[in-house]
Every structure is written in C-alpha cells, then in structure tokens.
C-alpha cells in the first residue's frame, strides 16, 4: 500500500472521514464530500459577502460577483434566449459548482471531486434527463422530430434516426467524460512531473518549471472545462426548447 500511496492516482482516492451507514447503504462523509462542502460554502459566501453592501458602484468583490452573474446570464441569453432565463439559477449553480471544484483541486493536497466520473456523470445525467423532460413537456411527442432534422429526405430516415438517437444518448457520456478526463489527466500529469522533480535531484529544475507551466495551464483548463460544461448544458437546453 506504501507504493500505492505515492502513485499519481493516489490523489483520487476516496477516503471516508465520517462513516455513515444506513442499513446496507454506505453514505459516509468522504474527502470528496468535504471538498464539495468547501466549494459550496466558498461559492455561497463569495456571492453573498461580495454583494453584502449592494453598492451602486461596485467594489472589487462585488464586481467579480456581478461578472460571474453576467457571464452565465449572457451565456444563456446567447445560446438559449429569453426562455432560458427560467433555468438560470440551475445553470449558474452548475457553473459555480464545477468551477469551484476544478479550482479547489488546483490547491496541493486537495481533492478534485470533478475528477470522479460518477460525480460528473451524475451532473451530466441530471442535465440530460432534465433537458429531455423539458423538451417533451414543451413539444409533446413532436419533440421526437428532433431525431429527424428538417429538410432530410424521408428515405434517409432509417439512417439518420439511429444516428441522431445515438448522438443524443452520447451527450451525457461525452459531457461527463470530458470533464472527468480533463481533470484526471491534468492532475495525474502534474503529479507525475512533480514526482520527477524529487527523482532528478538538481536536474529536477526542468520538471519543476514544467510543473509551474502546467499548473498555469491547468488553471485555464479548470475554468475552461467549467465553461464548456455550462455552455453545452445551454446548447442542449436550447435544442430541447427550440428543437433544431
């Protein structure tokens, strides 16, 4: 187990902090849950404290809170339109949750809950199911016409419809895999290069510089992946509301 402790994958291990069992069910409060809690508290206090004074002319923190608000609001307006306003709180929470999860993971010795496929898949599944339900609610069975784009000759249907169905059901998979893979790969790579620093002694400077550069890149990826996750949610929502 000692070797396992220092493997680049050790950082992804789930460790129960408070054991909790409900019958046969394991509901332990783990390091993953701890960092989710930290992210939630940070996101909530950031937005609530920054806007505490509700200044007409915003200070730095309030500006940041307003910028995050408008960033997501503009994303929804551009990709979904007016009808998307209803889903703004959910999409904003999603963005914040993923962004803070990704950024928290950049702190050494912390845990990145977005590097776990089950977490990203759960979020993607909620988005997928929610969007599908919204689509059926809005268009009824007409929503199925989504699988047969307008203007395609009818004899193409046997080919197009299965492709569209496949692509539709790959959405949650790609949505969750993208985030999970980016986070896992980035953190593993960082860990591997950081390991070289110690192994190479004096020449460890080279991987050290590389790690520094990669950390900067990972920060960008942390933001970018949160953005991608959110914007794809918007795109799917738009498809459900407006079909193709």
């Amino acid at each position: 187990m000692a070797a396992e402790e220092h493997s680049p994958l050790a950082q992804f291990e789930i460790k129960p902090l408070v054991s909790l069992r409900l019958g046969d069910l394991d509901l332990s409060y783990t390091n993953s849950a701890l960092f989710m809690t930290i992210a939630m508290v940070l996101a909530a206090s950031f937005l609530l404290l920054a806007t505490r004074r509700s200044a007409l002319v915003p200070g730095r923190w309030q500006s940041m809170a307003e910028i995050s608000y408008e960033f997501v609001a503009n994303m929804i307006r551009d990709n979904v339109g007016q009808e998307g306003r209803k889903y703004f709180p959910f999409i904003f929470s999603l963005f914040m949750f993923v962004l803070f999860g990704n950024l928290l993971g950049m702190i050494p010795y912390s845990f990145t809950y977005t590097s776990h496929i089950i977490v990203t898949f759960a979020m993607a599944a909620v988005v997928f199911i929610g969007v599908t339900v919204i689509g059926f609610k809005k268009h009824g069975l007409h929503f199925l016409s989504f699988l047969m784009p307008a203007g395609v000759p009818i004899f193409m249907a046997p080919l197009i419809v299965p492709i569209e169905i496949l692509s539709y059901f790959t959405r949650p998979v790609s949505l969750s895999l993208r985030l999970f893979a980016n986070m896992t790969a980035g953190h593993t790579m960082l860990k591997v290069f950081a390991g070289f620093v110690a192994l190479l002694g004096v020449f460890g400077v080279v991987p050290l510089l590389l790690v520094a550069a990669l950390t900067g890149m990972e920060l960008i990826i942390a933001f970018l992946q949160a953005y991608v996750f959110t914007i794809l949610t918007c795109v799917y929502l738009n498809d459900a509301l407006h079909l193709h």
């Binding site: 994958l9 992804f12 291990e13 789930i14 129960p16 909790l20 069910l25 394991d26 509901l27 332990s28 409060y29 783990t30 993953s32 849950a33 989710m36 809690t37 992210a39 939630m40 996101a43 909530a44 937005l47 609530l48 806007t51 509700s54 200044a55 007409l56 915003p58 309030q62 809170a65 307003e66 608000y69 408008e70 703004f88 709180p89 959910f90 904003f92 929470s93 914040m96 949750f97 809950y113 590097s115 776990h116 496929i117 089950i118 977490v119 759960a122 979020m123 999970f180 896992t184």
Partner: protein
C-alpha cells in the same frame, strides 16, 4: 483507478445531491436575487440619470435658444437705434450747414452793400474833390475862376458817368 471503485459511488452521489441542492437553494433564494437587484437598480439609476440629463440638456438648449433670440432682437434694436441716430445726426448736420450757409450769404450781402455804399461815398467825395481841384487848377492856369456849376458839369462829363 480509484474513480472506478463502485463502492465509492453511493456516498459521493448522496453528498453530491445534498450539497448541490443546498448550493442551488442558496443561489436561487439569496445570492442571485441580490445580484439581479443590484444590476436592476443600477440599470434604473442609469436610465433615470440619462433621462434627467436629457431633460437638463433640453432645458439648456431652450435657455440657449432664448439667449440667441434675445441677442438677435437686441442686435436688430441696436442697429435700428444706430440708423436712427445716424439719420438724426445727418439731418442736424444739413440743417446746421444750411443755417451757416444762409448766415454766410447774409453776411456777404451785407458786406457787399457796405462796400458799395463806401464806394459811392468815396466816389461822391471824389467828384467834389475833383471839382475843387479843377477850379483851383483853372484859376491858377488861366486866372479865371470858373463857375462852380460849370466845373461840376465838366467833371461829370470827364468822369463819363463813372461815379
């Protein structure tokens, strides 16, 4: 990979659900309304300020237009006044010139009359002097004292009505 250890799925999902719902509720109930209120208030303030500025600008424009109008009016008034004054002065001038000219003409006339009178007087004097001189000269030359009347006639004849 620890990510594929299915025994960790349930606790992660359980806490994910709880924490995400909590975050969602905080965002929806507290954080987002506050930010949207701030943005709305700012938008309102900006709109109202812009409106106010527009009103003030209109007012300023009105004042400016009034000012321009008053200025133009004053200008025309001043021009009229200047014109009138000029005319008055010109009239005064011609009147004075006429008066002076008349005065001069009168004075010239008077002087001429005086000159003529003096000339007449002088000429009258001249006749008497000429007659006396002629008588004295005649008496000296020929020893005959001519009659005063004769001499006078002779002088008048010599002068040929010039006096």
């Amino acid at each position: 990979m620890p990510q594929f250890d299915t025994s960790t799925f349930l606790p992660q999902l359980f806490w994910l659900a709880i924490i995400f719902v909590l975050l969602f509720v905080i965002m929806r109930r507290h954080a987002l309304p506050r930010i949207s209120d701030i943005l709305e208030a700012r938008q309102l303030r900006i709109t109202s300020d812009l409106e106010k500025a527009g009103g003030l600008k209109e007012e300023a424009d009105q004042v400016m237009a009034d000012y321009e109008k008053a200025l133009a009016e004053t200008r025309t008034q001043a021009t009229a006044l200047i014109k009138q004054a000029g005319e008055e002065m010109a009239a005064e001038n011609t009147k004075r010139q006429q008066a002076i000219a008349a005065d001069l003409a009168a004075k010239t006339k008077a002087a001429e009359a005086r000159i003529a009178a003096a000339k007449d007087e002088a000429l009258a004097g001249l006749k008497a002097v000429a007659a006396d001189t002629a008588r004295a000269a005649t008496a000296k030359l020929i020893g005959i004292e001519p009659q005063a009347e004769q001499v006078q006639q002779a002088v008048a004849k010599a002068m040929g009505g010039r006096g």
